[in-house]
């Protein structure tokens, strides 16, 4: 049986940068435990010598020529920014008293 506690759920929500209400956290605690319980079925399988599959087509080392190409128009991209200052995106401060 999976056993995610309320504080585990809060920790995962923080890692995922999801602000959840108490009600959401309570509901997710039950649902995540129920879903993670289904994962236990996989422990029945011996996979010690099985290689993992990350993708299914045998393409490797896809390279392209290193050419200069026009990028997307700056103004159109910046027009989508929630906050913009001239030619820059405005980001929240990540250094200072809140940073680490």
């Amino acid at each position: 049986m999976a056993n995610l506690s309320r504080s585990d759920v809060e920790h995962v929500a923080h890692l995922a940068r999801l602000g959840l209400t108490d009600e959401e956290l309570a509901r997710l605690e039950g649902q995540l435990n129920h879903i993670v319980d289904q994962y236990a079925a996989l422990t029945e399988l011996d996979t010690e010598h099985i290689p993992p599959t990350a993708q299914t087509i045998e393409l490797e080392n896809i390279l392209r020529d290193d050419l200069t190409r026009p990028s997307l128009p700056r103004d159109e991209i910046l027009a989508l920014a929630p906050q913009r200052s001239d030619d820059y995106f405005v980001v929240p401060p990540i250094l200072g008293e809140h940073g680490n």
Partner: protein, 524 residues
Amino acid sequence: MSTDLTRLSALEMASGLRRGDFSSVELTTAHLDRIERTDRVLHAWVWWDRESALRQAGEADRRLTQARSRGETGPLLLGIPVALKDLVLTRGEAATAGSAILSGYVSPYDAHISEKLKAAGAVLPGKTNMDEFAMGSSTEFSAYGPTSNPWDLERVPGGSSGGSAAAVAVFQAPLSIGTDTGGSIRQPAALTGTVGLKPTYGRVSRYGIVAFASSLDQIGPFARDVRDAALLLQAIAGRDDRDSTSAPVPVPDYLASLPDSDDAAAARLRGMRLGVPRQYFVAGMEPGVEMLIHDAVNRLATAGADIVDIDLPHTDYGLATYYIVAPAEASANLARYDGVRYGHSIREPGGDYIADYLATRGSGFGAEVKRRIMLGTYALSAGYYDAYYLKAQKVRTLIKTDFDRAFEQVDALVAPTSPSVAFKFGARLQDPVAMYLSDACTLPVNMAGLPGLSVPCGLSDGLPVGLQFIGRPWAEATLFELGRAYEALTRDDGWRSILPRDLALLDDAATPSAPERAAAMRAA
């Protein structure tokens, strides 16, 4: 007007346009009128743009005239409306992916498939409804409200590409585009009585498609018959440098290999070896569905196909494997919605960047997306990676090996698409695992990267059932041959002439809309 142009197949539309029986403006007008009459109730579209569609149709008519004057035919899609799932970017237009976090977003560029469709002269009237970020099997997780199933307006059309499936089923468009990560094309195709193909992983470039799970996502067509589906795949398939997972594999001429005559189409079955995977007749499968699938297999056998029982022993592990791999990849892909560069954004006074992310993402994502991000983050988090994600990738190898072994014995597999017919609004909303089981017969195909085609195979209690053909990598042409052969075998079946039961209610002013109906059913 004597004939309803919307009832024609896409190929018939292409012929009519070339003969000059009607123009693309007339054809597009007929579809727009139909959307405007029926979509308040059905809610298959997030948005459409009449003016833009008619402008595109006018341009298509000019190209048709020009082609005719040179004795050319032009691309087959020229002048034909194609509905796009609302996660396909089209330059200068909205793309919500069914999410509030992309409300107000305007695509700054065209997806690869949008470029291809525009170059072919297809008319793109707008975008269809979907589960948020393609996570769901019912289209109930759209931030813009659910879509109804035209066979019974109290039921879901499947998902996540439910809008694309429903639009084609009710003649709002002859063709549409969906995406399929665990069944999101095939399952709604089955539940709406339409044809839907999930191509081989790598067949279609995903440049400009909102990502869900990058090792699984694939783009594919919906249509009302197999030849039309082949026509649309032809237009979008092929290598594109901007998606390094799109494969440099030649794209055959799909239509050329599909016979016009029913007899010739059915004759292709002779000597074909088809495997029936016994594990796909899952516990909890509806008896009506099971009966129709067995009937379909018998028809294929009678027509000369060699039917072989096949074991895919790791099928039962598919669901758990998928619900580790897909959420893990989703949690990484959806990290980009940070409220800084585009989309919904909340900046808390005081400037703590973590608080901004928490508020933006907590208010921008819906319940199912949050659930998947949580699952994925948990599966990838320190101490759990080996137990969950790595383990799932290894089981994925076992699932893929099952298919590899099967294809040493058979040319294709034949199976149910969905274990059940369309379910009622709300029926699986409170139980995520019940919703996830909707895709038990489709998601192993994504895990193995294979192509899968769903074609209608009859009605159970008046609701459509889908038959799934699964092929070797790159064998879409074989699937089209099989689907076309099955159409030929069943052409005189009574169910083939039955239209969606609630079609007439769609343009009735007294009928509640899909969101109203779903809300009333939740309240009851």
